[in-house]
């Protein structure tokens, strides 16, 4: 996942800050993301997000962003080891990292780990665990394709970071395991 954000009170003071963000969105969109923030939000949001299926595509997007030198903060979400190597190959350095230590507390309240793999793809948790279970049942009953179910599950995620390709993979695993 790649995110671009304007620093409030600094980057958003540029007269062309909106054009810079839209340019980033266009670059992301050109590289066939599996999901991207809805287009109508590009004109108002201080953040642009998109999800990609492979690190090679992420590398191409970052390479272009480096060349265009738009001065907007870029955050990549993914495997630390992969991102470290990728940015190094482009001639960049990781600046700041947000590490996840996982979940604590009453974990018995959580759905299965596989279901969580899907619901947590939306960082704001707009995709419910019941909807995952519901679509797994429909897929098994032959009433919906895995691809269509993944699209339905992605719909509540307005930021566009829900990785539809990954959801298809996990849904297939859920259908086959039960």
């Amino acid at each position: 996942m790649i995110l671009a954000m304007l620093a409030a009170g600094i980057n958003d003071k540029y007269p062309d800050s909106r054009q810079r963000l839209i340019r980033i969105a266009e670059i992301m969109n050109k590289h066939n993301p599996t999901n991207i923030m809805m287009k109508m939000a590009w004109k108002i949001s201080p953040v642009i997000t998109a999800a990609f299926t492979d690190i090679e595509t992420v590398k191409q997007v970052i390479q272009t962003l480096k060349e265009e030198d738009l001065g907007v903060s870029i955050v990549i979400s993914g495997l630390i080891s992969e991102i470290k190597e990728t940015v190094k190959e482009i001639g960049l350095n990781m600046h700041t990292v947000h590490l996840s230590l996982g979940t604590f507390g009453k974990k018995e309240l959580l759905p299965s780990a596989k279901t969580l793999e899907i619901t947590t793809m939306c960082g704001h948790h707009c995709t419910s665990s019941q909807s995952v279970e519901y679509y797994v049942k429909l897929i098994k009953a032959g009433k919906i394709s895995v691809e269509k179910a993944a699209e339905k599950l992605a719909k509540p995620c307005v930021c566009g970071i829900f990785n539809i390709s990954r959801a298809i993979k996990i849904l297939n695993e859920l259908v086959n395991q039960s």
Binding site: L3, M5, L6, A7, A8, I10, N11, S45, P46, I62, K66, D69, G71, V72, S73, I74, V75, I76, S77, G78, I80, S81, I83, K84, V87, K88, L92, N93, M94, H95, T96, V97, H98, L99, S100, L101, G102, T103, F104, G105, K106, K107, L109, L110, L116, T119, G123, H124, H125, C126, T127, S128, S129, Q130, S131, Y134, K155, P156, V158, C159
Partner: protein, 233 residues
């Protein structure tokens, strides 16, 4: 949110999309448990109710506080960005919010997908007040703390939200105390919470905090959010 009983046909589409399982079918009608509902509006936007029975109602204080902590649509008045988080490390290459001698900490109560009452925040803040932390000024959680940054304002303590993020920074030498508090609260809290640690990356690309966390018994996920330094003021 409200479901108009006279229109509802009991199809259950709203039940499926609710992230906190606050909607049930009772006597062939969808019924929202007002206590569990976090006012995220997800049912309103995504249930595709065939009879338009879901109604967005005007919320009043204190219930209205549920919405900004639960509904991702719309820009928060305080933070200026969509959702309940802040810029945190996402713009650190521009803001230098987290320096080389500091760590950032984010504790998201109710995540993933369980929800929390706001008073759970006090389980942490009462303990953090004893070690001294610097809360993120732009955080929606900081805005609902009392002036001494210990308690949640009385009238909203029992309000339920999808998640609430405590964000602060500390000098590096306080990380052990923070981790100890996390271990203590884990035993007493009635919901889940997710923990994130923000650190600057060393010039050689190393991240020494990972080993420190490991020594304290905290396993760092292989995935992370990484600011790659393309921003500038």
């Amino acid at each position: 949110m409200e479901i108009r009983e006279n229109l509802c046909n009991g199809c259950g589409k709203c039940v499926i999309v609710c992230p906190v399982q606050a909607i049930k079918i009772i006597d062939n009608k969808a019924v929202i448990d007002k206590n569990l509902c976090v006012e995220c509006s997800i049912c309103y936007r995504n249930a595709e109710c065939p009879v338009n029975a879901i109604k967005s109602r005007r919320l009043v204080w204190p219930r209205i506080i549920r919405n900004p902590f639960s509904d991702v649509i719309g820009t928060h008045k305080l933070t200026g960005i969509p959702g309940r988080g802040t810029e945190e490390m996402k713009t650190n290459d521009v803001t230098n919010r987290f320096g080389t001698d500091e760590y950032g900490v984010s504790i998201e109560l109710g995540r993933p997908g369980v929800g929390t009452v706001l008073k759970n925040i006090e389980l942490f803040t009462t303990k953090f007040s004893q070690i001294g932390v610097e809360y993120e000024k732009m955080s929606p959680v900081t805005a609902i703390l009392t002036e001494d940054k210990v308690n949640i304002k009385d009238d909203i303590k029992d309000e339920r939200v999808l998640s609430a993020i405590i964000e602060f920074k500390i000098p590096k030498n306080k990380i052990d105390q923070v981790l100890q508090i996390i271990k203590e609260v884990e035993k007493e809290i009635d919901t889940v919470f997710s923990v994130g640690i923000v650190s600057r990356v060393m010039k050689d690309g190393s991240i020494p905090i990972i080993d420190i966390l490991d020594q304290q018994g905290f396993k760092v996920n292989p995935n992370a959010k990484i600011n790659i330094g393309l921003g500038r003021a």
